[in-house]
Every structure is written in structure tokens, then in C-alpha cells.
């Protein structure tokens, strides 16, 4: 059972047993209805037990699940006829971010998203979804192109963070992200952000400024990874679980902190257990928000976007 999480395994084993029993019974023409019902009910209990009270650290692992749908999976599941555009016209094409255009329910949209790889080869090509400055610059170039023609923008956020490397620093990782925040704050078209997996710090926010910010139920969004926070503040990377609790990084947390607009529900156990259902939920949410945003003129849109981010933060005035 490679690629599955430790806490999922008891359930997966049980589900496997149910499948085996069912096919065995079919073959032998046996009546096992009673036994099947017993096992199904046991599985249901186990599902509730496991997924009903996930810790933030377990949510983190679902958010990073190797079978979790990625940006291009959602693009496909949403039925978008995607034409990918490459490169920042400055340095190279960074495959940790994909950008392009297509139709979503006959609406013309621009799509930008982090893209992780499914296997080692793809992950080397995609750099584990960790973009260099040219990735952010490509994203902005394509978003500006969309804005020029009034096309709404959808971004999918799914990155451990912006790449910390020599070339990335030489080419201005910080500047690239800063400019995206600056520019996305006043692009005159609707922008819907969907955090589908890992919202890793500035690398996530670099394509994360918009009119609506949605998070999938088992995605995370944080200022630093739980491991990073643990090694700095708790002086022990192994205390990531504790750091995840301290930082409050789940959709539920961010909703309570007023940072996100909506939590998109996932199928029981997470999007990887039923990707098509996750895809439908994401598609429905995007459609609903875009229809609302399209009622606004660009001036109102940009004014409200600024007000939205101005309202973020907690402090007192004495």
C-alpha cells in the first residue's frame, strides 16, 4: 500500500477485505450479505473515527498526499480545454507553475497554478511545485494578458513554498513575489484563488491575492511550514505537529481568522479518495463566485479587493 498514509491504512485494509469478500461471494454464489453489512458498518465507524477528528498534522499529510489531485487534474476535471502558455519572456519556463487559458462552462478564463509531480521524474521537472522567480513572473505575465482582455483569473495554490536556492535569490525571488502581490491587488478582472493542497508561505501568496480565497477542506495555508516553524521556535523539526497546532493552518482555522471566504468540502477522507467528487465541488464553488464577481464593475472589484486585505490582521488601538 505504497503512497498511503499511516492513519488511513486500517480503513484501507478493511475496504480491501470487503471488496475481496464481495468478489469471492459473487464467484462462489454465496450469500454473505450479513457479513458484508457488518463489515460495511464497521468501515463507516472507522471512517468517522479517523476523519471525524483529524489533527492539524494529519490534515497536513492529507494536503500533501501523493495521490491528491493537483492543478492540472482540476483543470481536466473542470472540463477546461486548456492551452498552456510557457515562459516569463525573461529567463526560462518554470514548470513549477503552469499558466494558460481555456473555457470553464463556456466562460473564457485564465488559469494559473502551482504544479507538483506524480513521480520522481516529474517532481524533478516540476521542482516539487516550488517555483523560482521566473515562475511568478510567468504567472503575472499571463494574468496581465488575461486582464488586458477582461478575462477572469482562477489560480490554484499548491506549493511547499517558493524555492530557496542560489539562482532564485540571484534573480530576485523576493522581488518577484512582491511584484505579484502588488499587481494582483489591482488587476481589473475577477480573481478567484483556490488553495487545493499546500499553501506554503510567500510562495503560495505569490499567486494568492484575489477577490475570493477558497480552501479545500483538507488543505493547509501557513506563514511557514510546520517543520520550519518547529525547527526555529521549538528547536526541533520533529515537533511539527505541535507547530501546526500553534500556527492554526487548516481551512477551519483560516475561516475563523477571516482570511478565507469559503471552505470547499472534500469527499470523506480527502480529495484523493474520490477526485471527481472533489472536482465537482471545486467547479461548483468557482462558478458561483465568478458569477457573483462578474456583476461588479472593475473599479468596485478592485476597491473591494483592497478593503478585503486591509481588513486582515488583529491588533488593538490604545
Amino acid at each position: 500500500m505504497a503512497g498511503w498514509l499511516e492513519f488511513e491504512k486500517p480503513l484501507l485494509e478493511l475496504e480491501q477485505r470487503i471488496d475481496e469478500l464481495r468478489s469471492f461471494a459473487d464467484d462462489q454464489n454465496l450469500d454473505v450479505a450479513k457479513e458484508l453489512a457488518r463489515l460495511e458498518s464497521k468501515a463507516e465507524d472507522l471512517r468517522k473515527q479517523i476523519y471525524g477528528k483529524l489533527t492539524r498534522w494529519q490534515v497536513t499529510q492529507i494536503a500533501r498526499h501523493p495521490r491528491r489531485p493537483y492543478t492540472l487534474d482540476y483543470v481536466r476535471m473542470l472540463g477546461i480545454d486548456f492551452t498552456e502558455l510557457h515562459g516569463d519572456r525573461r529567463f526560462r519556463d518554470d514548470e513549477a507553475i503552469v499558466a494558460g487559458f481555456g473555457h470553464l462552462n463556456s466562460r473564457k478564463v485564465v488559469i494559473v497554478g502551482h504544479q507538483k509531480g506524480r513521480d520522481t521524474k516529474q517532481n524533478i521537472q516540476r521542482n516539487f511545485g516550488m517555483a523560482h522567480p521566473e515562475g511568478y513572473r510567468k504567472a503575472l505575465r499571463v494574468m496581465k494578458l488575461g486582464a488586458k482582455f477582461g478575462r477572469p483569473i482562477i489560480t490554484f495554490v499548491d506549493t511547499p513554498g517558493a524555492w530557496p536556492g542560489i539562482g532564485a535569490e540571484e534573480r530576485g525571488q523576493a522581488e518577484a513575489i512582491a511584484v505579484n502581490l502588488f499587481e494582483m491587488s489591482h488587476l481589473p478582472v475577477p480573481i478567484v484563488i483556490v488553495v487545493i493542497g499546500e499553501g506554503g508561505s510567500g510562495g503560495a501568496l505569490g499567486i494568492g491575492v484575489g477577490d475570493r480565497v477558497l480552501m479545500l477542506e483538507y488543505s493547509i495555508y501557513s506563514v511557514i511550514s510546520p517543520e520550519g516553524c518547529a525547527s526555529i521556535l521549538f528547536r526541533d523539526a520533529a515537533r511539527a505537529s505541535q507547530a501546526a497546532d500553534a500556527m492554526k493552518i487548516t481551512a477551519k482555522d483560516l475561516s475563523e481568522l477571516g482570511v478565507i471566504d469559503e471552505t470547499v468540502p472534500e469527499p470523506p477522507g480527502g480529495a484523493h479518495r474520490d477526485p471527481e467528487a472533489a472536482g465537482r465541488a471545486v467547479g461548483e464553488a468557482i462558478e458561483r463566485h465568478l458569477s457573483e464577481l462578474e456583476q461588479m464593475g472593475s473599479v468596485e472589484l478592485v476597491r473591494k479587493r483592497l478593503a478585503k486585505f486591509m481588513a486582515m490582521g488583529e491588533f488593538k488601538e490604545v
Partner: protein
């Protein structure tokens, strides 16, 4: 900042905060070259070593005194203070860390905001204080800088930011990350209004602050030898497991790679900022609008 005004400040009983940081005595060891430097000489050289050029770290009010015309600074937004929205606890409680930082610095946040004149030009200033929890950006810094930027727009004056920071304040979690978007969004308005932002980067300027307002200056000035970057060198080294090149992420390296306009010695810092203000603000924005208006009228 000359000695006379330092003395005046002392006579007026203004708290001399650097005393806390510097050990009492006549001399100090330079952290750059290890030489012994006289205190008075350091002070005269605005806390730079005259042997090796090392720039000692300053507090926000020292930068205020270096940059602003004497007597012209008015502190603004000083009543905005941190709460502990996540009730964050690591090895210590965040609320205890805040209390300790307030006590240590005599300030209630990691950024000093206000208005002042530089060579006669009125400007809004946001000066970060590394001494206050590493100059980290949480909700308070984000709010103060965003509101100060809005005041710059209302007053139609330039904004000057001076950064010295380790980045986002982890103890405020996602709220601290969102301050990057908040400050950058407000700077976009400043830009749309045709107003100037001068960003000064002092040692160190890293993380979420570099990836937001500190990199969004129309003109970006850095002090010599300052560590400036997105990721810290240790994180990079741990990730790539390679030696980092000589001078990596220092001001001069960044200028070489096109990320900074000017590296300026602290003794020339004010002169350079004033030069920029002279050039870009003398009847700047209105004139620019007029010119554009004229051009449009003429059908250009």
C-alpha cells in the same frame, strides 16, 4: 545627525536607547574587523567603523535622527499594539515575548511610523526596529504601514520605508503572511496615485518583508554589507547542500544582480534620499498629471 543634536536630545531628557545595546565604556570592538573603536568616534561616524566600514545595527529612533530634519518628526499611529490572536505558545508565550520586547526597547511595536521633513521635503516614514522581536511583521506592522501609506496618499507626500527584519512574525501565523498582501496592495494605490516610495534596506532584510514592501520601492537603497534576501542563507544551504558563493545575498551582490539601485554608506544615506526626493517630488505628481493632461489634449 551631528553630535550637537545628540547632546541636545540628551539634555531634553530623551531616552537614549542605544545605551542599552552598547556596553558602557569608552570603546567598543568592531564586529566587522575586530578592531577597537572609540565610542565617540563611532557615534560621529553614525555607528559605522572607520577602519572597515562595518555598519552597526541601529534602532528605529536612531535612523529617525539620521534621516529626519531636527525637530520635524511627528510620530503617528503609535497607539496600534499587538494582541495575541492565536494565543501562541512555543518555548515561551507570545504575549510574554511581546511584554519583554516592549520593556527592552521602550516601544510598543517593531515599526516607528510618522511624518517628518528630509531636506525640507515632507514625507511619511516607516522605520523598522530589529530590536523588537527581530523587526518581524505581524498585524501591527502591516496595519501601521498600510495606514501610513494611505496617509501619504491623502497628504500627497512620498513614503519612505526602512527595513531591518527577519521577516514575518510566525507567532501570528497566517495573519502575518496576509500583511504582505495588505502592504503591497496599499503600495499599489500609492503608485496609482503617482506618488513616490523610497525603500531603504538595512541589515538584515529577509523573508516576508523583502517579499513585500521592502522590494516595492520606486528607488531601492541599501546600506553596505546588509544581508538581503527571501530565504535565509541557512535554509538555502540546508536545502541545496552546496556552499554559497562569496558575498551571496549581501547588498553589493544584489546590486550586481540588478535588484538594488544604490548601495549607500550610512553617512551619505540622508543626502542620497534627499536627492531622490528633490528630483522626484518637486511639484512631481501634479505636474506629471498636467503633462499627461496636456498631451491628451493635444491628441498625443
Amino acid at each position: 545627525m551631528d553630535q550637537v543634536s545628540w547632546l541636545k536630545r540628551r539634555k531634553r531628557g530623551i531616552k537614549d536607547s542605544k545605551k542599552r545595546e552598547m556596553p558602557d565604556g569608552l570603546w567598543r570592538k568592531c564586529e566587522g574587523c575586530g578592531e577597537i573603536v572609540y565610542h565617540k568616534e563611532l557615534e560621529r561616524n553614525l555607528w559605522t567603523c572607520n577602519k572597515c566600514g562595518y555598519h552597526f545595527r541601529l534602532q528605529a529612533n536612531q535612523y529617525r535622527d539620521i534621516l529626519v530634519d531636527p525637530g520635524s518628526f511627528v510620530e503617528l499611529l503609535s497607539g496600534i499594539e499587538s494582541t495575541d490572536p492565536l494565543e501562541f505558545v512555543d518555548s515561551k508565550k507570545y504575549s510574554d515575548r511581546l511584554t519583554a520586547a516592549k520593556k527592552k526597547t521602550g516601544h510598543n511595536s517593531a515599526v516607528l511610523t510618522g511624518s517628518g521633513r528630509l531636506g525640507g521635503h515632507l514625507a511619511m516614514l516607516a522605520l523598522l526596529d530589529f530590536g523588537f522581536l527581530g523587526g518581524s511583521m505581524g498585524s501591527v506592522m502591516g496595519e501601521k504601514i498600510a495606514r501610513l501609506t494611505r496617509m501619504a496618499i491623502e497628504e500627497r507626500v512620498p513614503l519612505i520605508t526602512l527595513s531591518s527584519t527577519g521577516g514575518a512574525r510566525m507567532q501570528e501565523g497566517i495573519l502575518s503572511l496576509m500583511q504582505m498582501a495588505k502592504t503591497s496592495a496599499m503600495l499599489a494605490r500609492l503608485h496609482d496615485e503617482g506618488l513616490l516610495h523610497v525603500a531603504i534596506q538595512a541589515h538584515p532584510t529577509t523573508g516576508g518583508v523583502t517579499a513585500s514592501f521592502a522590494s516595492l520601492g520606486d528607488v531601492i537603497i541599501a546600506e553596505p554589507g546588509a544581508l538581503i534576501g527571501f530565504a535565509g542563507p541557512r535554509v538555502i544551504q540546508q536545502t541545496i547542500r552546496e556552499d554559497l558563493p562569496e558575498g551571496f545575498q549581501r547588498s553589493e551582490f544584489l546590486m550586481e544582480h540588478g535588484m538594488i539601485d544604490i548601495v549607500v554608506h550610512r553617512k551619505e544615506l540622508k543626502d542620497v534620499v534627499v536627492k531622490v526626493l528633490d528630483f522626484f517630488t518637486n511639484d512631481g505628481p501634479d505636474r506629471a498629471e498636467d503633462t499627461l493632461g496636456q498631451a491628451r489634449k493635444q491628441g498625443l
